[in-house]
């Protein structure tokens, strides 16, 4: 299914497109808002408002995944996707906990901002690939 673009159903193709668009928007908005707040020091109420903006595409991601799971007619593929989502959640928790402890150290430079949502999506994508490879 997800291994080759030609094997994707219209539902899967559409879901991946919307998912990717929301993911990109989340990353762009998160980094932009972070820099904006850091450099421009806006008033507190503006910072609260600005921080909400990157959450909107995250809600979009949740919605598109929910819609996909509700409409996927292939039980086996749906099971693989749900398992992959759980793997993604687990990997995100583990890496986030590790990085949280690591970056608390003042001498460790936080070179690349890693967004949990990106980490989650990459983990889910990798888990789906591995699951499909195991069940090829």
């Amino acid at each position: 299914m997800f291994v080759c673009k030609n094997n994707l159903s219209p539902l899967q193709r559409r879901s991946i497109q919307i998912f990717g668009a929301n993911l990109g928007l989340t990353a762009v908005l998160s980094l932009a808002i972070r820099d904006l707040v850091k450099d421009m020091h806006p008033a507190a109420f503006l910072a609260y408002f600005a921080a909400i903006l990157p959450t909107i595409p995250v809600i979009g991601i949740v919605a598109v995944v929910s819609r996909y799971l509700a409409r996927e007619t292939d039980d086996f593929i749906r099971m693989l996707v749900v398992q992959s989502l759980l793997w993604g959640l687990g990997i995100t928790f583990v890496v986030d906990t590790y990085l949280g402890g690591l970056f608390a150290h003042p001498q460790i430079f936080r070179a690349i901002p890693i967004l949990n949502i990106d980490l989650f999506c990459i983990s889910v994508g990798a888990a789906i690939r591995i699951q499909l490879w195991r069940n090829r």
Partner: protein, 64 residues
């Protein structure tokens, strides 16, 4: 749960992809059911029974 899917498919000279197309599922689903890694839902089991014109009990058997 054991099943005779591979035998029934071979009798008709269908590939896994052929059966998957007829069932409107992925080839991976057919493979997972054949190898016993995944038990199909009731609607899919009925679809298989209709497709092979065989009662469900003759396709799937309880291992106990």
């Amino acid at each position: 749960m054991k099943n005779r899917l591979r035998v029934l498919r071979a009798e008709r000279d269908w590939s896994q992809a052929d059966l998957a197309d007829r069932l409107e599922v992925s080839r991976q689903s057919v493979n997972a059911i054949e190898t016993g890694r995944f038990d199909p839902s009731l609607p899919l089991a009925f679809k298989l029974a209709r497709l092979f014109r065989t009662p469900i009990e003759q396709i799937f058997t309880d291992e106990d």
